[in-house]
């Protein structure tokens, strides 16, 4: 079994869904291949992190359906690519890590304890979220967005080497543009808390950042 074939099966392997000769072949390969062993280790670690997050019902906000749908699209893309055996681009990591990150993201969004509206630890490029006069539902939604984008930024950072320097610069410039815009909207919201149009603009700008990161993650997973 080649590394590419193992990449196709590693999600099922980690999930314990492989049986018979496939399971045996994957185990043999992983035992003798440091790269695949490392990927298995990373995948298990990500899933463990996701599993450790609290699980409660999804927050009833507009944020969730869009993200869930996009995760669904991501899953479709994964199935499409893994369904073909053709090697278009070499894929050193396959899509397993991306799937695990999606799982972690899913867990973060589904599992945020209700009523918690504290600013998140900055894992992305967002430094903080405003709390001054911001209604709790808005703050909670923004907390979710920041956490989600932080997770995606972490996942993407592992794939940056697959992008050309000019693409990396373009992505960084645009993320900065989006973060600047988010700050401007927050300043306006501080002056006019509860303004529905500003809230809508804040959500759509966060969504734009999420879309960008999801798209990059999806496309770079094919490298």
């Amino acid at each position: 079994m080649t590394c590419g074939e193992v990449q196709e099966l590693i999600d099922d392997y980690v999930d314990g869904a492989l049986t018979g000769p496939e399971l045996h072949e994957v185990e043999l390969h992983i035992a003798s291949c440091a790269a695949c062993r490392e990927e298995e280790r990373q995948l298990r670690a990500l899933i463990a992190r996701a599993s450790a997050l609290p699980r409660e019902k999804a927050p009833p906000r507009d944020l969730w359906p869009g993200i869930a749908a996009r995760l669904g699209e991501h899953g479709d893309a994964r199935a499409r690519w893994s369904g073909t055996r053709r090697v278009l681009f070499s894929r050193p990591m396959g899509l397993a890590a991306a799937a695990a990150v999606a799982l972690a993201l899913l867990s973060v969004l589904v599992g945020r304890p209700t009523g918690q509206a504290t600013p998140p630890s900055p894992t992305g490029s967002i430094e903080t979220v405003s709390t001054k006069g911001t209604p709790a539902p808005v703050l909670a939604a923004e907390t979710d967005y920041v956490r989600a984008t932080g997770q995606l930024m972490d996942a993407l950072s592992a794939r940056r080497s697959g992008l050309s320097p000019e693409t990396v610069k373009a992505v960084d410039d645009n993320l900065k543009t989006i973060d600047d815009a988010l700050r401007q909207i927050r300043v306006a919201l501080d002056k006019d808390p509860g303004n529905r149009q500003l809230t809508k603009m804040l959500a759509s700008t966060h969504q734009k950042k999420l879309d960008l990161l999801l798209r990059l993650l999806k496309l770079t997973s094919q490298i």
């Binding site: 053709r86 090697v87 278009l88 681009f89 070499s90 697959g162 992008l163 050309s164 000019e166 693409t167 373009a170 992505v171 410039d173 645009n174 543009t177 989006i178 600047d180 815009a181 401007q184 909207i185 306006a188 002056k191 006019d192 303004n195 149009q197 500003l198 809508k200 603009m201 759509s204 700008t205 734009k208 960008l212 798209r215 990059l216 496309l219 770079t220 094919q222 490298i223």
Partner: protein, 293 residues
């Protein structure tokens, strides 16, 4: 034969590197007039041209890093891919692909320049470091890139055009448009439109087209300016909102603050019977509505 799978991999693996540096392509397959053609190539250029024949042809060259061309599938789904065993940077393949005009086209690339013309079926094109242009009467277009321009013209159905770091230009569409960019320029001109959704973060937005009677335009940007040039006779409800920008309208009315506690400015008015709906929101960008004679 109902199901025919043909596969061909140009046997380049054993060829010396000097020969692999430039390989001419000249391939042909029969194809249904309304089938699917999937194209995958890492970098270089992809030019897809619709024609009136029931066949797919591939010409062009495989350059450095392109290990081979694979054509697979049957007449209702033709899959064309350039194989490479390395990172797409440094790979080059220039493909000219003729397809039956009614085909549905799906293109996936990392850094190829993508051009589609004279295809009337649906076109989906996606890239990272790619510029994408789709011209002709495609009934549905979805074009998305991260770093590059997107140009769509002459489509006759739904258009989804998106770039993160590049200008998006849509011309002469008859149908509906969803277009967005982060800091590029977003321009829609001509055509007859039922729904238009335009969104940027800092890039300017310009719309100059015709609308169906009950059409809707929604434009949103944080700091870009919005220019809408609309028919003087338009019948529409307008709702224009900005927080620190200015609002100007040839259709009259003056922006006002909804209350003294906000810097938000609004301008709402109706022309004619208010059939269409025009909604614009900015944070700091200016909104300018002009009449087109």
């Amino acid at each position: 034969m109902k199901t025919m799978t043909s596969m061909m991999v140009l046997a380049l693996a054993v060829a010396p590197a000097s020969l692999r540096a430039q390989q001419k392509l000249d391939e042909k397959r029969s194809a249904a007039r309304d089938g699917v053609v999937e194209i995958e190539s890492a970098a270089g250029s992809i030019h897809v041209i619709g024609w009136n024949r029931a066949e797919v042809t591939v010409t062009g060259t495989l350059g450095p890093g392109a290990e081979g061309l694979e054509i697979s599938g049957g007449s209702h789904r033709t899959q064309i891919s350039v194989e490479t065993d390395r990172n797409p940077h440094g790979v080059n393949a220039d493909l000219e692909i003729h397809v039956p005009a009614g085909s549905r086209i799906e293109i996936n690339s990392f850094a190829a320049t993508i051009a589609v013309s004279e295809v009337t079926g649906a076109v989906t094109a996606e890239g990272v470091n790619s510029s994408i242009s789709v011209a002709g009467g495609s009934k549905e277009v979805s074009a998305q890139t991260v770093n590059g321009t997107v140009d769509v013209s002459g489509a006759t159905g739904r258009v989804h055009a998106e770039s993160v770091n590049g200008a998006v230009t849509v011309k002469g569409v008859k149908g509906s448009i969803e277009a967005s960019t982060t800091n590029g320029r977003l321009v829609v001109t001509g055509g007859t439109l039922e729904h238009v959704g335009l969104e940027t973060v800092s890039g300017p937005i310009r719309f100059e087209g015709d609308l169906t009677k009950a059409a809707s335009i929604e434009a949103q940007t944080v700091s870009g300016n919005v220019d809408l040039v609309l028919p003087a006779t338009i019948s529409a409800d307008f709702s224009l909102t900005t927080f620190s920008g200015d609002i100007q309208s040839d259709f009259g009315g003056a922006a006002r603050r909804p209350n003294k506690h906000t810097s938000q400015k609004e301008l709402e008015f109706t022309t004619g019977d208010g059939d269409a709906k025009v909604e614009v929101q900015t944070l700091s960008g200016a909104i300018v509505i002009k009449k087109r004679p």
